[in-house]
């Protein structure tokens, strides 16, 4: 076993193109365990927490082997899952590679585009952005735009916007927000070039109309 060194593990990792990543990960873990368990001394150290030194018998309570393995199993699942997700750069909640704020997804000017809902009250029929989280809770501005982005197909968009309009009305009726009654709800793709005063918050660079749903139930695109 002493011949198995870092080169072996490196070789396994570089075999990515040949084998499935899960297989490589599993083989690495099993090899590490084999190195530990095939060596008698290492095995003794591994089980040490389940034994007690002769002088400590009355002052220390050793762990049982089952409990020791349970502790290792929990740690292996959590830590192994986290590392696997990081290695594969994927997110399998509750495991994650924690990619928040990682991407440079804007040009140097910082220009960015999001989906935003606008409400249209009957009188005066001047639309306003539904940009307060209270308007559509439990959705928030962050979740809502992702949720809408996944539903930009014609049929789904109508259902999604209808749900948002009903939610707005229900929350208004419950007194959660004080927004005006709406006659329709519009969805736009809005682009801003941010500035350090946020002075163009209500004057975005551009807006692209994506769809509208009315209180009567009709929708257009």
């Amino acid at each position: 076993m002493s011949k198995i060194g870092p080169q072996f593990f490196a070789g396994l990792l570089f075999a990515d193109g040949v084998f499935n990543r899960k297989l490589i990960f599993g083989v690495c873990v099993l090899t590490l365990l084999a190195v530990i368990f095939l060596n008698r001394e290492l095995r003794a150290v591994f089980w040490a927490p389940s034994r007690v030194a002769s002088g400590d018998a009355s002052t220390v309570c050793p762990m049982t082997k089952g409990r020791l393995l349970a502790a290792y199993a929990v740690a292996a699942v959590i830590i192994g899952g986290s590392f696997y997700d990081f290695a594969a750069d994927r997110e399998t909640w509750p495991f994650s590679q924690y990619p928040m704020f990682s991407f440079i997804d804007a040009p140097p000017s910082g220009k960015f585009t999001i989906l935003r809902l606008y409400g249209v009250p009957p009188q005066p029929s001047v639309e306003f952005p539904l940009d307060r989280n209270e308007y559509l809770e439990p959705f928030d501005n962050s979740r809502l735009q992702n949720a809408l982005e996944r539903n930009t197909g014609q049929q789904q968009l109508a259902i999604a916007l209808k749900d948002c309009l009903q939610r707005y009305d229900a929350l208004r009726a419950a007194g959660i927000h004080q927004g005006p009654a709406l006659q329709s709800l519009r969805l736009y793709r809005v682009t801003w070039t941010p500035n350090p005063q946020a002075s163009n918050l209500y004057a975005p660079d551009s807006r692209k109309f994506l769809g509208e749903v009315f209180e009567t139930g009709s929708s257009e695109r």
């Binding site: 150290v45 040490a48 309570c61 959590i78 539903n151």
Partner: protein
Amino acid sequence: MSMKSILRRWNHFWFEPVAPDNLGLCRIILYGSMFLFYVFTPWLFKSWGWHEDFALWGNVSRVFWSPVWLLATLHLPPLPTSYLLVIQSVWRVALFLSCVGLLTRVSTAVSFICGVYLMGLPNSFGRTHHLDQLLIWAFLVMAVSRCGDAWSIDALVRKARGRTATAQQDPLPSGEYTWPVHLIWVISAIIYLEAGLSKLRHSGMSWVTTDMMRNYLMRAYYHVSDSEPLTSWGLFIAQSHHLSKLFAAGALMLEVGFVIALFSRRSRWVLVPGVVAMQTGIAALMGPNFYQMIMCQAMWVPWDRVVRWLAGRVNDLAESGQHRGIERAGQVAAIPEPPLPHTPKAPSTR
């Protein structure tokens, strides 16, 4: 350093025998703070507290449903509001029972199982947020651990029912009480490390050297986040390219370097308050709040020593109070009593 000596150190880190007090106190703090957080924030902080009321997701259209991996694998559907209210109530009761340590094995397991479903629910509607993963893992670790062996009603009941002198004693020090707390430390360090490495992987040092942070700071004020920034200071920082880069460098260093806290006790004095300050700063400057993660950092505090220190202080105060009382009594005794005014002897009625 030989493999054997590495394993010895490994064993010392994970399974050094300690008394059950710290784990018991960590249990009280973890579950107690989360019970208060999830019960009271919807009432106290109207502008964002509804995030913590999971029952609201029961009436959201299924068109938005995009389950996270675990819920998809287990085929768990979004339940109606009435069911969610029941699950949420059970969960809150379980959090409370876990805190006080009543039926600890069951209540911690229920806290974990219900918590996974409830916290997975919002993440299955549009976007995954990363504020509660550490909490979920902490709940799993606590559920498997023997965290109810001390500072719990279960322990009091066990002692009261114990017929032998051994059964009435506190549990002996064991490795059982070390690994859960240290595993929560390790998970916490991995989360920050991966967050930092993800930034380097996807953006490299450009994450610091470009206007990345400045753009994130400005963007936060265009109502794109799950919560609004607590202050407008982010815009002030964004006015300076250098200041924004300094913040980016500081955040990246903290995230990547946090793992040092596992090995160096001294560094914990800087790194743990550092990440707490960083996450508080994110809420103040950019909006997203990581209060659950911040609370989990309390696991780094050796609560048994804190309690011992506090108890010592209280004893000292009590003793000095007693001492002062005795001294005062002595002083009072030393003062000669004023002569009583002469009172005529009452005539005997006999």
